[in-house]
């Protein structure tokens, strides 16, 4: 799983180095100020033009906030060994994302996945 999450990291790394790698620019995401998120996967959308992780994040005050995390294209992920079942609803993720540069929160691009553990069975922890 570390290798597969590494592919998602690749998306963030390429964004940081060059900008335009997909059908649109990633300049809207602030590469200089990533934020760390820890939450539960609500949905993994393996769809074009970009895969999405819908992540429910618990705030310090207990409120739940839903984030849309835009990744690279499914075709690029397939070449890195991903599939539509790589992430499942209920999976717990801890990752670093780049939020929108000047708009509100709750939208981001995965930058550095730090930790993932499966909620059912809790077999693996990656740091």
């Amino acid at each position: 799983m570390r290798r597969q999450l590494g592919a998602l990291l690749l998306g963030g790394a390429l964004v940081g180095s060059g900008g335009a790698l997909a059908h649109h620019s990633f300049a809207m995401f602030d590469q200089e100020h990533p934020v760390e998120l820890e939450g539960t996967v609500q949905e993994f959308k393996f769809t074009a033009p970009h895969a999405f992780i819908i992540l429910v994040v618990k705030q310090e005050d207990g409120r739940l906030e839903t984030w849309s995390l835009e990744g690279v294209s499914p075709s690029a992920l397939v070449r890195e060994g991903w599939s539509r079942t790589t992430l499942k609803p209920g999976d717990e993720l801890k990752l670093r994302v780049t939020p929108p540069r000047r708009a509100g929160r709750r939208l981001g691009h995965p930058a550095h996945p730090l930790q993932r553990r499966q909620s059912r069975g809790a077999r693996s922890v990656i740091r």
């Binding site: 335009a20 997909a22 059908h23 620019s25 809207m28 949905e43 959308k45 999405f52 075709s75």
Partner: protein, 278 residues
Amino acid sequence: MLDRRAIQIAALLAMLALAASGARAHDEAKYPDWKGQWTRGNGPAQWDPSKPGGPRQQPPLTPEYQAIWEANMASQASGGESYNPQAVCLPSGMPRLMIAYEPIEIIVTAEATYVRSDHLSEFRRIYTDGREWPKNVEPTYTGYSIGRWIDSDGDGRYDMLEVETRHLKGPRTFDASGIPFHVDNAAVIKERIALDKADPDLLRDEITAIDHALTRPWTVTRTYRRDRAGEWFEHVCTEDNHHVVIGKESYFLDAAGYLMPTRKDQPPPDLRYFQSRK
């Protein structure tokens, strides 16, 4: 009598079939092997791969189009992408298609060479049947391409495809930074495509753009690396595109389908045809 005539006809057909297959085999031997999956070979997706993206691309734009490009980059920096047709899934068209955002496939036949890309499901046709330019051509994003095979080293096999593309349709940009083409869409794109002499898995496309937004022809060389066993994938951009352009503003749809701003203090779209809640 009938049987003998039938046998003669069958023999004649067999001879014709043999002759035809022999000719086809002969023709195929003249064309280079460009089969496989070609992946962008020189890094990020700026138009001139020999220079960093953004302002350091230094395209030879006229002052008018330099100003348009700078406005596009400023828009991009603030989160806007209304200048970028791809953001709303319009095709890259030529020559941006040859950036190869996703791997490309090149299908060589005697009559035409086809270039297809998973990215945005794009497809271009390069006629190599010796035709002249048609008088009336409806412009398209990939344009109308006529190619000519070259045997540059005289070994009896073609090794280079020279291509000219005209009759292009807009809007198109060179790359995601918004380097513009002239709005008259009179661009002519010339290409010289060939394998590296020492490395048969390295393909080069020398691309020259001639356009009224440019002060001189602009030539770049893009490279592609071959994977003979690469898997192909479907990429339907409109399947779940969250980027929305309304007027000159770019917005984003969140997971629940609500419209989000992409920059600080961005105004909402004009909702005059919707009843507001009092």
